[in-house]
């Protein structure tokens, strides 16, 4: 028996999730750009409750994080677990159920938030029936992933590649964090009250909140990085040992950070200090991981001139390094005193979300589309245009928020010679206007890039058959 023969992978569900992710990227960035425009020009709220900023902003975060991010994580996990373990999915049918139910859950989330049904807990706004459904779907996803790894041939694949560790760590952590933070007492079909009150409620919320960033938006996307950067670069990862250390440091470290969201609150002071200290310590493994990805190109940097997909992947690592330095600095109490509650936080989140998460996803999606449909992209030039739109849009966005945030912080703490506040809150809002316009412009540019990506991918899929036939003819 030929033990090296590769199986026919279950790629149908991966194709569905890949295209779904890109559609949600377009929708999510559209909602975000519209919400940003509402802050610059409030008339855009149109006095319609369902699309006021308060609801649209949450629809935006849920669409980009859970719909775009979640579908990307599912697509890449199902794609890579088969290839790294040389085996088909444990259950293709279960994967399809997971994908379809997840889509329904996302649509239910967005709809109910638009109708004003929310728990009010950041990144966990789904009311209890939807939250339970999403937790069950997530468990199916995890279950299928674990059993696929378990069903591999242990002789030909004795070692489980590190990207699977990151995926699995993310799945397990998100399951228990999401479930515990979601514990609530329902009082009606779409109304519940959290089980945790007061300061304990705040602590549990940010234990989840920061780990939604740490595990969902970091560990999961590092799994993507550890598979797709070597594959696209056609070079092995710089140091496998460093990737193992990166993994364990993240798993042990990230769960401690949540308290840095609650500096100068009713939380005991030492918890904030602990959160800040561990945050600063996390710079070391984060930068180690970023360098590990970048140095994979060591000796082949010229590839960046011609490989536009690789540009996305390497640029994402630059943003990963930058935002994992910025975050710990903002967690330190002296900086936090200025930065907290200001737009600087929004800028920091988007340097991670647009620069790191979206760009590494985009690189991986372009790579997968070519492999899944067994074709070249419809237009490599459009990928280059997308790269520059995404990069310039991100830079516009975060620079606007840095300036706006620091200015806000300084205006709020300024005193005059009599010891009274130098500026009213309304004056600080008025001063933000130019930066809100600049932020909306940056977001719009990023959104345009997403539209270009969707067009390029749709055309690639539609013309894949014809181009394959032409290739065969030319070979004959």
């Amino acid at each position: 028996m030929d033990t090296t023969a590769k199986p026919q992978y279950d790629d149908g569900v991966v194709k569905y999730l890949t295209v779904g992710a890109v559609v949600f990227l377009v929708l999510g960035t559209f909602f975000g750009t519209f919400a940003a425009s509402q802050l610059a020009w409030p008339a855009l709220n149109f006095d319609i409750a369902e699309i006021t900023f308060a609801r649209l902003r949450v629809i935006h975060t849920n669409t980009v994080i859970f719909a775009f991010g979640g579908m990307t994580l599912m697509a890449t996990a199902f794609y890579t677990v088969q290839r790294t373990n040389g085996v088909k999915l444990w259950s293709n049918g279960l994967a399809w159920w997971t994908a379809i139910l997840f889509t329904i859950g996302l649509l239910a989330t967005v709809t109910t938030i638009g109708l004003g049904m929310t728990t009010g807990k950041e990144y966990h706004e789904q009311e209890w029936p939807i939250a339970i459904a999403i937790a069950l779907v997530w468990t199916l996803y995890t279950f299928n992933f674990i059993l696929t790894i378990a069903s591999r041939n242990k002789e030909t694949h004795s070692h489980v590649y590190v990207s699977n560790w990151f995926f699995l760590g993310m799945m397990i952590a998100i399951t228990y964090l999401y479930v515990i933070n979601g514990l609530a007492i329902p009082v009606s079909l779409f109304q519940s009250y959290t089980l945790f009150g007061g300061v304990q409620g705040a602590m549990i919320q940010w234990w989840w909140g920061h780990n939604a960033v740490g595990f969902f938006l970091t560990a999961g996307f590092l799994a993507i990085m550890y598979y797709f950067v070597p594959k696209q670069a056609q070079r092995p990862i710089y140091s496998y040992r460093l990737s193992v250390i990166h993994f364990w440091a993240l798993m042990f470290g990230y769960v401690w950070l949540g308290a840095h969201h609650l500096q100068y609150t009713a939380l005991p002071d030492w918890t904030g200090s602990l959160g800040a200290v561990i945050s600063l310590a996390m710079i070391i493994p984060s930068w180690g991981g970023a360098l590990n990805g970048m140095l994979t190109l060591s000796g082949a940097w010229d590839r960046l001139r011609t490989d536009y997909i690789l540009r996305f992947l390497i640029m994402s690592l630059a943003f990963y390094a930058m935002s994992t330095f910025e975050g710990p600095v903002m967690a330190a109490k002296s900086v936090n005193a200025l930065s907290h509650y200001t737009d600087w936080t929004i800028g920091h989140v988007h340097s991670g979300a647009l620069g790191w998460v979206a760009m590494v996803s985009i690189g991986a999606i372009y790579h997968m589309v070519m492999k899944l449909w067994k074709t070249e992209m419809y237009s490599m030039q459009l990928i280059n245009i997308h790269f520059w739109l995404a990069t310039i849009g991100t830079v516009f966005y975060i620079v606007a928020m840095w300036v706006s945030g620091i200015m806000q912080g300084l205006m709020w703490r300024a005193y005059d010679e009599y010891g009274t506040l130098a500026y009213t809150f309304a004056e600080s809002v008025a001063a933000m206007h130019p930066y809100y316009v600049m932020r909306a412009f940056g977001g719009f540019i990023f959104f345009l890039g997403a539209v270009v990506m969707l067009y390029n991918i749709v055309m690639t899929i539609r013309t894949a058959g014809a181009r394959s036939a032409n290739k065969v003819e030319s070979l004959a």
Partner: protein, 60 residues
Amino acid sequence: MSTLEQYLSTDWASMTTHDWAGLIVTVLVFFGMLITFALALRPSKRKELEEQKYKILNDD
């Protein structure tokens, strides 16, 4: 008592079950990290680990 002694002094009698649970988990995690790093970084492990990185290059 010096300032350092004051800083490090702990009223062990007032530790609750939650405090003990947290302390034990923290200490176990700390040693878990040390052991993991020692296992991953020991020189004899280098070749075995590093050869894993080549396997994905031809997986499809």
